[in-house]
């Protein structure tokens, strides 16, 4: 049955590819071409998921559940719902793009690079599809390793330090996460997410202990997102990591886990902490935006823009309104897409001019019109221009959260305005105004075929996701509705938005 | 007859002297001798208990301990000679190429 084995295939085809890479000759572009093939095959396989997904049905689909280790009872349990569906798709979609962007950038030790890259794909997909807490943890930890090695080995000069920072930041809280998972197992005798959810909902646990357990989960994920005071690794990693890794290092893994486990397993505890997290989210949003304004290195601008945007997702999550949650999921996907695109653009810019300092650029628009166009499209998506994907997410989050925490959200809108400021300012300084010395000195080559192939799929998807958001929402909304507060708690948010939305509304709004 | 506890106290005292000497003495040979003293204190304990339990296995144990101690001494002295050749000193404080 394809439906039962499809998730296994999607998860392990890249790992298999990673093993095969080791057997390939180091000649020419054999290895990157093979990696591209593997990621494309994975992507095509993953298209099976939305195709055959039953949008009317709740719960997990394409499930497979077989015993893996008898004692303790660990199952190989995979499955996806509307939340993980799109995150799996996002990951497989970014796979070929990661290969294409590394095509030129990685010249030496390609075997190591691409096999670790493919292993990283497996780990990330595994995180999204695993429904056994143990299996999930295994993939979660595994996702650190290839990432850290790739940053250390293929990053820029200070790559090894950044990798160390990243690993320690994320590994330490993971140790506590393991204690928490083992404690849950000791109490309930199961690692199965669905069973655990039912057990925890039925109550009967010491609330104090449960609170600590939920905190361990929260901290482990918050570091990975990263949420504001725990973001120390982010800027260094984005700055040093090879582009293919910087694209996927932040955001989706941590945010997904917050949705799935903090909200799914510990709804009461998550709600207790919610005001704190909303506050932290708003602070992170403003902080990221202000720091981004002060940067001249384009990668650091983007790093803080990412921090700012991810804080936005945190706000959406911890307001517990349905449209806020929907918006947060949508923003998670947007962030992976638009944030990835801007990093790819920066990489292409660097390949041409060898500088990340935006003060050295100027007047590029006339020399590289295509690059400029795509940069502007991505920028507009990131700042949330209507008709673009970013707008849908931001609007849903703001409108869903405003009734819950009006004061904080009012402050958050300032952050949104600031984000428009620094992103547009960056585009302005690089592409418009006087041609700088650096720009006029170098030969100007606009995008080549490989670069077009890398960027256009992302640009098109950004626009499509802005225009046709219901296609995504019809899966996200049912998954989120079980996590949101009861509709009675937030009655006014949705209908009010319905009238003011310029484009077809997600189903979430219609509630 | 001398009560068993006297033997035990004597052996405990000897053992403690051995332990103290192990930490205080600076000459490797003396340190090594303090270990031998500890082993002999144990032998005395074994003999004492063997007498108390009327169990000959305690005395047999002593023979084994003596044999093993002799083997240990053979190896130990060889090692001490090797150290002396390499470093020309028998003071434990000066054998500090690697910090403890």
């Amino acid at each position: 049955m394809l439906n039962e084995s499809i998730l296994t295939l999607i998860t392990f085809v890249p790992a298999l590819g990673a093993a095969v890479v080791f057997l390939l000759p180091r000649r020419g572009r054999v290895i990157p071409a093979f990696a591209l093939l593997v990621t494309l095959v994975t992507f095509v396989l993953s298209l099976h998921l939305p195709w055959h997904y039953d949008y009317a049905q709740r719960g997990f689909q394409f499930a497979v559940n077989v015993p893996w280790i008898a004692h303790p009872a660990i199952h190989y349990h995979l499955g996806i719902d509307g939340l993980s569906l799109w995150l799996v798709l996002l990951t497989t979609f970014l796979g070929p793009i990661g290969v294409l962007v590394s095509w030129r950038a990685i010249e030496h030790r390609t075997k190591e690079f691409y096999s670790l890259f493919l292993l990283q794909q497996t780990a990330m997909i595994g995180v999204f599809v695993a429904l056994d807490l143990f299996l999930y943890y295994a993939f979660w930890e595994l996702s650190l390793v290839p990432m850290a090695i790739l940053i250390a080995m293929f990053g820029r000069r200070r790559g090894p330090r950044a990798a160390l920072k990243f690993f320690v930041y994320t590994f330490l809280p993971s140790a506590l996460l393991l204690v928490a998972i083992l404690w849950l197992y000791a109490q309930t005798g199961t690692f199965d997410f669905v069973q655990l959810q039912a057990r925890l909902a039925s109550g009967g646990f010491a609330s104090g202990a449960l609170w600590w357990v939920s905190l361990a989960f929260l901290v482990a994920f918050a570091v990975k997102v990263p949420v504001f005071p725990l973001h120390g690794w982010l800027a260094d990693v984005i700055e040093e990591a090879p582009t293919a890794m910087a694209m996927v290092v932040a955001g989706k893994l941590g945010l997904y886990s917050l949705f799935r486990f903090n909200l799914g397993l510990f709804p009461a505890q998550a709600r207790e902490l919610a005001p704190l997290l909303v506050a932290v989210g708003v602070i992170g949003l403003l902080y990221g935006a202000l720091v981004a304004l002060a940067q001249t290195d384009v990668r650091r601008v983007v790093a803080y823009a990412i921090l700012s945007n991810l804080s936005f997702c945190t706000i959406g999550i911890f307001c517990f309104s349905l449209s806020g949650l929907n918006g947060a999921v949508y923003q998670t996907i947007n962030e992976g897409l638009s944030g990835g695109a801007i990093l790819v653009l920066i990489a292409f810019l660097y390949e041409r001019y060898g500088s990340f300092d935006m003060t050295q650029y100027g007047g590029l628009a006339s020399r590289l019109p295509m690059l400029c166009t795509l940069w502007v499209v991505t920028t507009l998506a990131l700042v949330g221009l209507p008709l673009m994907n970013g707008f849908v997410g931001e609007f849903l989050v703001l409108s869903g959260s405003f009734p819950v925490h009006p004061g904080w959200i009012a402050a958050a809108t300032i952050g949104v305005i600031l984000s428009a400021a620094y992103m547009l300012w960056m585009a302005q300084r690089i592409f418009y105004g006087q041609q700088s010395l650096l720009v006029s000195e170098r030969p100007h080559l606009d995008l080549g075929l490989r670069e077009h192939l890398t960027l256009w799929p992302m640009a098109i998807l950004m626009i499509v996701m802005g225009l046709a958001s219901p296609f995504w929402m019809k899966a996200i909304d049912p998954a989120m509705s079980s996590l949101a507060n009861h509709p009675a708690a937030t009655p006014l948010a949705a209908p009010a938005t319905a009238t003011s939305m310029p484009e077809p509304l997600p189903q979430g709004g219609a509630r | 007859m001398v009560p068993i506890s006297w033997y035990l106290i004597l052996s405990a005292v000897l053992f403690s002297i051995g332990v103290a000497a192990f930490f205080i003495k600076r000459n490797i040979i003396t340190v090594f001798m303090s270990i031998e003293l500890m082993l002999n204190a144990v032998n005395l304990t074994f003999v004492g208990f063997a007498q108390q339990w009327h169990e000959v296995s305690g005395q047999i144990f002593v023979f084994f301990v003596m044999v093993v101690a002799a083997a240990e001494a053979a190896v130990g002295l060889a090692i001490i000679i090797a150290v002396f050749r390499a470093r020309s000193t028998l003071n434990v404080d000066q054998i500090d190429l690697m910090k403890l």
Binding site: E112, A138, F139, P160 | G18, F49, F61, L100
Partner: protein, 504 residues
């Protein structure tokens, strides 16, 4: 009635190793002075293989005693026999790779490894403290000699001296412990000690005896605060020897500790669990904090081995069949990954330790992706990342601890494993940094067949333990089951966190 088994069969692996050891020694004596001793190494490998096969075969024997109740073969002893034979096999291969044809005293080294293994194997099957003592000494004396094998280097004899003095000191404690237990119970057979205690009226000196036994074994497993010799000895000893002595004698000493505390003193668990609790906490913490400030890779791994002894003791303190199984499993997982990493160190650094500092390893992965990748893999396993043996080792240990309500111990342990990640990663980071022009990694020798065999054994072992741990775990559980008749299991999976007091 248990069918009669020829007693010699119960010590078959030991007999095989002794015979091969004597053969190697004699051949060494009659061979021409100038000829290479490497064939003797392969002969020793053959002996280790035969011992491994014999140990596996022993699984088919019915559990029982031999030689008037001195030796016992059961699932437990077979488990550790197989482990020790495997370690010896891998260490011999590592030694064969590291040494050159002209290395001094090579034949003796191979013979000593085999003789030492005889002692270690007897440690795991002895149920009479007299034999435990003799076996411990056979194992220790051979390792004292091997530690100082680089006689001409300045550090070699110093390493052997420290090991010898502190080792004999610990032996004296162990022996005094035996004497006091003998005085309290009138016997030195482990099962009879247990029944004497069960009968009641044991005098108080038994507690002192038990404490001294634990101190003596604490030295042998390098548990803090009895760990001071470890870093110096590891630094000064040749790497192939460290591969052996950081794993096999320790596994054997842990087996003895299990036999003693669970076999002889199950009824006194109120007294020894707190001791082991503190030993575990101290070992983990001191080991990891000590490793943080090391610059020498072998010293770093010495501190790491102290920390790993601590994790293993966590399982001891759990006081359940699950705990024994977890400890046994951990011993295997740790042994395989540690032997593996020393295989790389021994090859890259050679017998004379050309690479010592972490910085010397800079660029290893760029220079040789195979060696660098394998070393990173073992570091990852030592950290305890999933899909490696190190992960399941820790996992079972902490599951057992949590099941017994040792929540604090589990938290301390896992926080420690988080700290540990830092220093393992420093090494991994160095490996993956770009090498400088003058880096010593540019002059790596070619990997030999022996090294490749050793790497295949250890890498596949670590992967199998990490992906399909079921097989080894069920053997470990069978080994643990030999104690369930005597081991009290105090708390099942409690429903509240309230029973944390059990540990104090």
């Amino acid at each position: 009635m248990i069918p009669m088994v020829n007693p010699a069969l119960r010590v078959l692996p030991e007999i095989i190793l002794t015979l091969f050891g004597i053969l190697v020694m004699l051949a060494d004596a009659v061979m021409a002075k100038a000829s290479s001793r490497k064939p003797l190494g392969w002969l020793a490998v053959l002996g280790a293989l035969a011992a491994l096969a014999a140990s596996l075969w022993q699984n088919r024997l019915p559990a029982g005693d031999a030689f008037y109740g001195v030796v016992r073969t059961d699932a437990f002893s077979v488990f550790f026999h197989v482990l020790i034979a495997g370690i010896v096999l891998a260490s011999l291969l590592i030694a064969l790779d590291a040494v050159s044809d002209t290395t001094e005293g090579l034949g003796e080294l191979f013979a000593l490894i085999l003789f030492g293994a005889v002692g270690m194997m007897f440690m795991t099957s002895a149920v009479e403290l007299l034999l435990v003592f003799i076996a411990l000494e056979i194992s220790s004396i051979s390792t004292y000699i091997m530690a100082g094998f680089r006689r001409k280097s300045a550090k070699g004899p110093e390493s052997a001296l420290k090991y010898f003095l502190l080792g004999s000191f610990a032996t004296a404690f162990f022996l005094y412990g035996i004497a006091l237990v003998f005085g309290a119970t009138g016997t030195t057979r482990i099962p009879e000690i247990a029944s004497a205690i069960a009968a009641g009226h044991t005098p108080a000196i038994i507690y002192i005896g038990l404490a001294m036994l634990i101190v003596g074994l604490g030295f042998k497993v390098s548990a803090a605060p009895f760990h001071v010799w470890t870093p110096d000895v590891y630094e000064g000893a040749p790497s192939p020897v460290v591969a052996l002595m950081s794993t096999a004698p320790k596994a054997a000493a842990f087996a003895v500790l299990l036999r003693i505390v669970y076999g002889a003193f199950p009824l006194l668990h109120d007294h020894w669990t707190p001791i082991l609790w503190w030993l575990a906490v101290l070992s983990m913490t001191i080991g990891n904090l000590g490793a943080l400030r090391q610059r020498n890779v072998k010293r770093l791994l010495a501190y790491s081995s102290i920390a790993h002894a601590g994790y293993l003791l966590v399982a001891f303190a759990a006081l359940s069949a699950d705990g024994i199984a977890a400890a046994s499993f951990y011993a295997v997982a740790y042994a395989i990954m540690n032997v593996g990493i020393f295989a790389v160190i021994s090859h890259a650094g050679g017998y004379e330790d050309r690479l010592t500092l972490i910085d010397d390893y800079r660029g290893l992965a760029w220079r040789s992706p195979l060696l660098g990748g394998v070393m990173a893999f073992f570091l990852i396993s030592l950290i305890g990342i999933p899909f490696t043996g190190g992960f399941f080792g820790k996992f079972y240990v902490f599951v057992a601890a949590l099941h017994s309500g040792l929540i604090w111990l589990a938290i301390i342990g896992l926080v420690n494993s988080g700290i540990a990640a830092w220093y393992y990663l420093r090494v991994a980071t160095a490996i993956y940094s770009r090498p400088s022009e003058s880096s010593p990694v540019h002059s790596l020798p070619r990997p030999s067949l022996a090294l490749l065999l050793a790497l295949v054994i250890t890498v596949s072992g670590t992967l199998i333990l990490g992906i399909f741990p079921g097989g080894v775990l069920s053997s470990a559980r069978a080994a643990a089951a030999t104690y369930t008749s005597v081991s009290p299991v105090p708390s099942s999976s409690g429903t509240s966190a309230a029973d944390t007091t059990a540990q104090h």
